[in-house]
Each structure stands twice: as C-alpha cells, then as structure tokens.
C-alpha cells in the first residue's frame, strides 16, 4: 500500500520548509453515519518530524484537526538529499512512517 504520508521538504540554504499531507479520517466521535450511528473517534494523536537524528517538530493533535491533515513549518538547517522522517500514531495505536528526501 502506498504510504499515507506525503511530504515536500525544500531546503533554501538556511532553512528547510516542510509541508506534509497525511491520509487519515480524523473521525471526531461526534459525527453520525448514514444509519444514525456515531462513528467512534479515530484521529491522529502525535506526528513527529525528525531530521539528522533530531526531532524538529512534535505535533499533538486532537479530533478537531481536519480530515487528511495538512501541516506546514520550517526549521533551520537541512540540506538537499538529507532524510526527513515523519511518523504518526493515532488513538487506535495505528502508525505509519516515511523517510523523505529534502529537495
């Protein structure tokens, strides 16, 4: 299966700009399905971005983050060809990870 994570990381010499898109339902637990049954909460709790063995961002998310979450941030350093690893864990204990190359 293709990864649930899509990352674009671009180094401009001083900083690296990261944009990530994760495929995830992010069910809040307040929405009912077509039969009127509540869809149980299913959302990402943490996303970690690591570069060169160092965490560059930890995101703690509640169910209020939109479906198929998007996040954008920048960090100092990072060079073209470096690995940027993205890992998420959701409330059901599911997880996915992806190592992307900085462009």
């Amino acid at each position: 299966m293709a990864s649930t994570i899509r990352v674009r990381a671009q180094a401009n010499g001083t900083n690296t700009e990261v944009q990530a898109l994760i495929q995830h339902p992010m069910d809040s637990g307040f929405v009912k399905d077509s039969n009127g049954v509540l869809i149980p909460p299913h959302h990402i709790e943490t996303v970690t971005f690591t570069h060169a063995g160092k965490t560059v961002l930890t995101a703690n998310w509640g169910p209020a983050v939109s479906k198929d979450p998007y996040i954008k941030f920048s960090f100092k350093g990072g060079a073209k060809g470096d690995d940027l690893t993205v890992t998420w864990i959701d409330n059901l204990g599911k997880t996915d990870t992806l190592a992307a190359k900085i462009a």
Binding site: S28, V31, V56, T58, A59, N60, W61, V65, F73, F75
Partner: protein, 160 residues
C-alpha cells in the same frame, strides 16, 4: 460439617479471587480499548471542554494578549470542516504553539512542540463546529502570549 464449612470457605475464596481477577481484567480491557495513547500526548488537556481547564492542564499558568503573536484565519469559513489556521510570531525562544477553539466540543485543537532551531510558524487546518474565537497560544521564554480572532462558520464541521 467441618469439612463442608472449610470447603465453603475455599470455594468462597476462589470465587472472590475469580471475581477480583475478572474485575481487573474488565478494567484493563476498558483501559486497553479506550486508551492506547501515544507517548507524550496530553490526553487530559485534549478532553477538556472549557478553555480554562485545558490551559490549566497544558500549561498551568496565565497568558497575556500580545500583538507579537500573528494568527492568520479566514474571517468567514464557508466550510467548518476545513479552516486554514496559521500562527507565527517574532518572539524569541518559542517552545510550544497551541491552538484552541472554545466553541468546539473539546477546546484544545492542536499543540505543537518546537525544539530549538524550528521556526515559530505553523500552518494547519482545523475543524470548527460553529462560529467561534480561535486562540493561538505561544510559549516564549516560559511565558504565554496569545492572539484571538473570530471565525464565522456558515457550515459546521463537527457533524451532528
């Protein structure tokens, strides 16, 4: 008679033990299915319905409004399911950025931990149940600074 009584006690103990074991299993079972919280995820803070409680659990200190915190949100969001929110600041030594939506079922929407070297600017997309303030809290040098803006929501994004 004596033997019967002993037998009774023995049975009773095993029954009690079994019950205790079942109770323990039950508790563990519930905890197991409901919770497998990711390490470091501030679960309690995310479960709070009031802004004060969520902030108390997350930071435990008061915040002050600051124009150095820039909160970029749309004035009107047609679709509450996808509201772009970005927070940035000129403040130095930023360690965390949190975003709260007080009118949502759970106040705290997202909380970011920024190690040294990460720029204090985050963009993401949130769900909003209805028209509400959006509050961005920035922790800089151990102090909290906030910016608040109202977003009018025409179509709620938390179902119902």
């Amino acid at each position: 008679m004596q033997a019967a009584s002993v037998d009774f006690t023995a049975k009773d103990t095993t029954r009690r033990a079994t019950l205790r074991l079942l109770a323990l299993l039950g508790v563990a079972g519930i905890a197991g299915t409901a919770r497998a919280a990711a390490p470091g995820w501030p679960e309690e803070a995310f479960r709070q319905k009031s802004q004060a409680d969520a902030l108390k659990l997350l930071y435990g200190k008061p915040f002050e409004a600051s124009d150095k915190v820039k909160l970029d949100v749309p004035e009107i969001a047609e679709n509450g399911a996808v509201v772009p929110v970005s927070v940035s600041t000129d403040l130095p030594g930023v360690t965390t950025i949190s975003i709260l939506v007080p009118e949502n079922p759970f106040t705290l929407a997202a909380s970011y931990t920024l190690p040294e070297g990460t720029l204090p600017a985050i963009g993401c997309r949130l769900k909003m149940a209805k028209t509400s303030n959006v509050i961005a809290i920035v922790e800089s040098g151990g102090k909290l600074y906030a910016a608040t803006k109202e977003v009018k929501v025409t179509l709620g994004g938390c179902g119902g």
